[in-house]
Symmetry: D2
């Protein structure tokens, strides 16, 4: 697979130093490790490397959707891969499913969900703030997922405009206020998921979920990175200690 | 959506007490909470409930792929949802991708991966032990995913029989011995993933990965369940403290 | 050091199988690994071993205060070593200090605190329930610490009967109700500590502590056990995920 | 209790901004929150406050041993309070005990141990590097514990010069090399403790401990801080993910 103009390339030096570029004739990538010309990588194989003018070797990788999601422009706290991964696996999300989402934010979770439900499924995502709505649109376009996402710039408390969703994902400060409209949008026995940073939010949400949902479960996911080296293996010294609690519930008929 | 004969139904009382049944005319589900006849739920809506002869209310839910994966017959340690979820999200796995897997085991991870790559992608999974190979086949059939998985009863150390895979997933005791064949099976810049219970395995693996891979990262994922109740919120008293380390790497051209 | 009659001996087979006995002439210790007569260990060295009639080797260890604290009779949830250790170290507790405690319970934390403040310091511990008060007294006697602890069977909400304490330790369901009396009992700039299982308790407590205290900090301590074996090192599969939050604060003059 | 000249005072604004000063006539404390003169706090009560020239209120607290230990000059990685606390509580350390320590480093753990064993016990601590030995001496003096600690500038691999220790604490890169000399220095059935950052060190150590020790246990202690605020309670976003593994063992006679 050869690198073409206008493709996104992940230029990788190490975990702390990597750059996502759109290959453009005439442009260069300038880093503190030196620079190279985009022209010089067009036609090269993905997985190959290029040397900067300072002799540093940079690898030319094909970014996957998670790489893109981690590098979008952000105006909000975003959902971490550890959390979106658990949401995807725990709910059995797959291609062809219909998802309603409330609180698009910067669109990171939207991108992760759309990547799974495409090409036959769809994500309908609501965002009340116009600036977030616009930013999320740009980010989703950049991730190449515009065909699988409909963004709606509207207060979802008035109700989702869709029925028979396979999954409702709520990333709002007051998720308890959309339990009823989520119930209405979901297929019977489909899953409701909410992402809340504080214990108090979850407590309030869980109480509201007792009307119309069963199998209510709240968890936190912790990711710990390791330094694995011959005779010197140990966890990294610092970690993210908290992102959010994730709450799951299944719609029952009432 | 009405429950039909031969469908799988998740009969749910609470998190600790739920049963996965295949609806069969003439059969009954007997539990310590009483029994009901399968015939009596045919034609009922998913999300509705039925009372046992002892008056206990059981909810009739449509199982998703994760529900099925958690309830397969097991002869091996299986991959937890927290781990398969992170693998899926971190690698950007999606419909249409081609996965090679070594160490099918009971097929739980195979099921989770196939659910994501279907309908256009495929999982090619290798298992050297015939008893596991057969069990995994039954489990994958039960999960309705036989069209998206090819099981191969063979020692993968001789090499995968496939090229241009988007992802290689290794769940073997000696993953370092398949680094080379995984490299050969992968597309350039595609991801290698291995699941290892011990630090020593990861250490050995990581050393081997330095030939032909970059962006090598090892993590552990911890899931902590909470009891969220009005004025009494706290984590559950016990948790699973360890399942496995997950190691990621990207193929480069050498 | 030779084992004498009436001494407490920790008979150790492995971490899961150990017995605390009081050496008594004429008695035997019967276990599923066989038995031995107490008479046969009198005069043996601590650190030596004895064989049961079934040929199993049991080690004869001198118990320390933590061994005794872990093996008292319990009618209540007790404070774990990980938590009492952090309380001791974080507050700089040492011999000669005066501690007031509310909520003696089974006396486990009282034992740990008394072990540190002896021989010149003292713990004054309040317990409203007579059955706990009596049990704690027996446990503290058994641990050999009766001279360093005064137990008071009284509702501490009426106030501690002591002044100029170096530390106040509260293990009650409603610690916010004793913030004022703790303040009165403490020396200026001395530490207040409370142990609370739920987030909601801590939230209420912290709000109350803002009157008369600074440097308010709430933490949780997690202990993870490892299986360290040649080429097979990994954390144990299960762990205690939650005991309690510990809150610290320092008295200021108001 | 009034502040006297030459006493150490913890000047506290908040958790991130506090200063340990030695009260000296004629001196001032200058901070970005303004300054005050030492003379102006002499005679004030501990627990009271003083305003800087910029009108910021600073609390005048009496530091405890942990406060001092956290603020010593460091040339080495030091032992965290969470770890020293567990060591103290798990071993039943108390006043009057004799401790041998290998690897004084900056003396932080030495200070914590001496604070517990004083006034009748003693810590004998070995450090091979002269610069650390000198620094630790200064730190221990500053903490007011010089009478309870003997520092020895010597390679402990030649043996401890003491017998009948109640506890041996090893903080060296190769603890397996002092297992034998620790065994010789300990009372029968007394505890050995080692602090190791990597899994590999522990693995090697544990193998060596099987000669002459039982009840071998390795743990890691994690501390997670919380932000407890009305309706907004949640863990802090970042935490220290790893300091060291702590290994415990008890000497048996061989």
């Amino acid at each position: 697979m050869q690198i073409q103009e206008n493709e996104l390339v992940l230029v990788f030096y190490n975990k702390e130093k990597s750059w996502l570029i759109k290959v453009s004739k005439g442009k260069s990538l300038h880093t503190h490790l030196g620079f190279f010309k985009h022209d010089d990588i067009i036609g090269k194989e993905y997985g190959s490397s290029i040397e900067t003018n300072l002799g540093k070797k940079l690898f030319l990788l094909k970014p996957n959707t998670n790489d893109l999601a981690l590098r979008v422009k952000r105006k909000t706290q975003v959902v971490y891969t550890k959390d979106s991964g658990y949401i995807i696996a725990r709910t059995g999300l797959c291609s062809g499913m219909k998802v309603v989402e409330a609180g698009t934010g910067s669109g990171v979770l939207t991108i992760m969900l759309a990547n799974i439900v495409k090409p036959l499924g769809h994500v309908y995502s609501y965002e009340i703030r116009e600036d977030f709505y616009k930013l999320a649109g740009e980010n989703i376009n950049k991730a190449g997922l515009r065909d699988y996402v409909t963004l709606i710039n509207k207060d979802v408390k008035e109700g989702f405009d869709f029925k028979d969703a396979d999954l409702a994902v709520i990333d709002l400060a007051d998720p308890w206020n959309v339990v009823r409209v989520s119930w209405e949008a979901l297929k019977p026995s489909a899953l409701f998921v909410a992402i809340c940073p504080t214990v108090n939010q979850v407590e309030k949400l869980v109480s509201e979920l007792s009307k119309g949902f069963v199998d209510i479960e709240s968890v936190e996911i912790l990711l710990r990175e390791w330094e694995m080296r011959k005779d010197m293996s140990r966890p990294k010294v610092r970690m993210v200690a908290h992102t959010a609690y994730i709450t799951f519930a299944r719609k029952i008929l009432i």
